[in-house]
Symmetry: C2
Subunit: 77 residues, 2 copies
């Protein structure tokens, strides 16, 4: 089982990406976690280390995939 | 069964996104099609109509999700 972490900040672009793209991920192969960086700022460094520069972003197997653009990570921390 | 169309242009960013993110989509719920816009320019207008501005992009249920940035759609057509 691979790990998928969806980083977001509650923005409209983030909500759309979560409801559609993140929810489309195969739950049989991926354990999906959703992290709201605006509410859980302790995870910002983890996101940055994974290469996340903006939200919403999905980190799959250690690679960061930015999905459209909601907010810059630097504006959250 | 919903439809998911992955638009790409064979670029390194596109290949990574296809191998990881597009392949992570649940095949039980989505019928996934991969379209190489550099080789199939007849589909560029369809991508543009769905809101795609750059590749790689995934169109899910009619909504366009740009994944990182490989190339602008305007550079392909």
């Amino acid at each position: 089982m691979s790990k998928a972490v969806f980083f977001h900040a509650g923005c409209p672009v983030c909500v759309s990406a979560e409801q559609n793209l993140a929810n489309a991920i195969d739950p049989k192969r991926y354990q999906i976690e959703s992290v709201h960086l605006g509410e859980d700022k302790s995870r910002i460094e983890e996101a940055r280390a994974a290469g996340v520069k903006s939200v919403p972003a999905l980190v799959l197997d250690g690679s960061a995939y930015h999905i459209n653009f909601g907010a810059a990570l630097s504006d959250l921390g």
